[in-house]
């Protein structure tokens, strides 16, 4: 089911499959949590500034506490009961897509079609090529060895306002060392 969820996030399911997964989501709390986690992972990979962890819960709480409007009902047309629910669902789906699209445009991703929510390696590669493409003038950047540059870093740190604002943690930039990363 988790694979199906991920496929749903990437809009890779057929309509029938999507309906089935959405139905499962409705009644399955652990699955709902997985859904949240996938989105959180997607956010983390894209480095989207995060909302508080229980943002969704807060929205639901606010919704629940909103006053219920008691208004006289319009006369129900005979056909409406059959279509009301699917119609409401499709409106919900459209607004969800609207929200998602809006969130994506907020992220300043130049090519939205390449943003894949659940495919981590793809996102990483996209991010790298973007940086390369948008900075054509800059010569190749290598990682510097802070050990070799330490005396310069120390001398710089003394006059950098980052020390006045951040305090001593700013000196961690002087101490930091590249560690070999292994998978």
């Amino acid at each position: 089911m988790n694979e199906q969820l991920s496929a749903l996030m990437d809009s890779e399911l057929t309509e029938a499959e999507a309906v089935r997964v959405l139905g499962a989501l409705k009644n399955n709390a652990p699955l709902n949590q997985t859904w949240d986690t996938y989105h959180l992972l997607g956010d983390a990979l894209r480095k989207t500034p995060q909302m508080s962890a229980d943002f969704g819960a807060k929205v639901m709480q606010r919704l629940a506490s909103e006053p219920t409007v008691l208004a006289p009902r319009r006369k129900a047309k005979p056909a409406s009961p059959r279509f009301a629910l699917p119609l409401a669902a499709s409106f919900a789906a459209v607004s969800l897509v609207g929200v998602l699209t809006w969130q994506m445009t907020q992220m300043n991703q130049p090519d939205q079609s390449t943003v894949r929510l659940a495919a981590a390696p793809t996102v990483q590669r996209v991010a790298l090529t973007e940086t390369a493409a948008t900075q054509p003038k800059v010569p190749e950047r290598v990682l510097f060895s802070s050990a070799a540059s330490r005396s310069y870093l120390l001398a710089h740190q003394e006059f950098s306002p980052s020390y006045s604002m951040e305090g001593f943690p700013a000196y961690v930039r002087t101490l930091s060392e590249q560690q070999e990363s292994k998978p």
Binding site: A127, V138, L154, S162, V172, T174, E177
Partner: protein
């Protein structure tokens, strides 16, 4: 008359409703943060992230009658530590045998933001409050500094509501990527700290001091060097000729700052170690080039465009 009162009242209500968005509120927080970082006693652990790297460090800060004393120890990888005792900084190298000692010229640090700094910040950053979030179990005020051009990074700062101490900071590139970030995971503020905890153990260590230090007046830089035009907002805040620890020849050191970020220019005779090019680590960029027989090195927590423009603007006139 009645209308006038009503208008006044309305104005007041509107002002207080939007009070959180008034930039001066954000600047008051920056002031508070700068003061807290240097005057409070605290000890805690924080995580420093840059690129794919994550490093954990422990920090202790003590201010007493004799001044400011602080210690920063890395907890991952090779053991490295750095101490500051007022104007002296002791950097213990990874071999654990050698200590680099740097005598700072500014004895008091910058306990508060100077009015000029605030004026500069307003010109080159949009500064605003951005809600509250929790860091290390404490409620924080978020302050956001959005750069107005590509020559500086954006900064998001989380200041402890109770004390004003900075508990988290993230630095953003114009591609909206985090370039580096540090976050306290636990912190004790105001607990008593033993002076011995922040005293460097120098026994049996080889000290690398800079020769010629101890001069009351730092020397002026060599005549003939010109730097300009620099990127907008980067003003010269300091120029001095000094000998760096472990070096034998003096270096001209000139610092440019926009009030928040700074770039240092180091000019010295070129050696066989001079390798021109651009390198970086997190928010720190370094750009090296040769001008005549000299090595020009520009270093700072600024984007690559900034170190390159400053470096390329260095010229020598006889």
């Amino acid at each position: 008359m009645k209308q006038a009162w009503l208008a006044c009242l309305l104005g007041f209500v509107t002002a207080s409703a939007y009070g959180a968005e008034v930039p001066d509120g954000a600047f008051a927080w920056l002031q508070r943060m700068a003061t807290a970082a240097h005057q409070l006693n605290y000890t805690g652990s924080f995580v420093y992230q840059h690129g794919q790297q994550v490093e954990t460090s422990r920090i202790t800060h003590l201010t007493d009658a004799s001044g400011e004393h602080e210690k920063l120890v890395t907890l991952d990888g090779s053991p490295r530590q750095i101490f500051r005792n007022n104007d002296e900084v002791y950097c213990f190298l990874a071999d654990d045998k050698t200590v680099m000692v740097d005598k700072h010229h500014v004895t008091t640090g910058f306990p508060a933001l100077l009015p000029q700094q605030i004026a500069d910040l307003k010109e080159y950053y949009d500064v605003r409050l951005d809600g509250r979030e929790r860091v290390a179990g404490r409620e924080c005020q978020v302050i956001y500094l959005a750069p107005k051009d590509q020559f500086r990074y954006g900064h998001r700062l989380w200041a402890d509501i109770q004390t004003g101490l900075l508990l988290k900071t993230s630095t953003w590139s114009d591609q909206k990527d985090i370039v580096d970030q540090f976050t306290f995971t636990d912190i004790k503020i105001g607990a008593p700290i033993d002076r011995n905890d922040v005293r460097p153990a120098l026994n049996g260590k080889k000290l690398i001091r800079s020769t010629g230090e101890g001069n009351a007046q730092p020397l002026p830089i060599d005549p003939g060097w010109e730097i300009g035009p620099t990127p907008p907002g980067f003003k010269k805040i300091m120029a001095v000729k000094r000998v760096l620890p472990g070096a034998s020849v003096p270096v001209n050191h000139i610092v440019f700052s926009d009030g928040l970020a700074a770039a240092s220019v180091f000019i010295e005779p070129a050696s066989n170690k001079t390798t021109p090019g651009l390198s970086h680590q997190g928010a720190m960029h370094m750009y090296t080039r040769k001008v005549a027989d000299y090595q020009v090195k520009v270093l700072g927590e600024v984007p690559s465009a900034t170190v390159m423009q400053i470096g390329d603007a260095v010229s020598f006139r006889k």
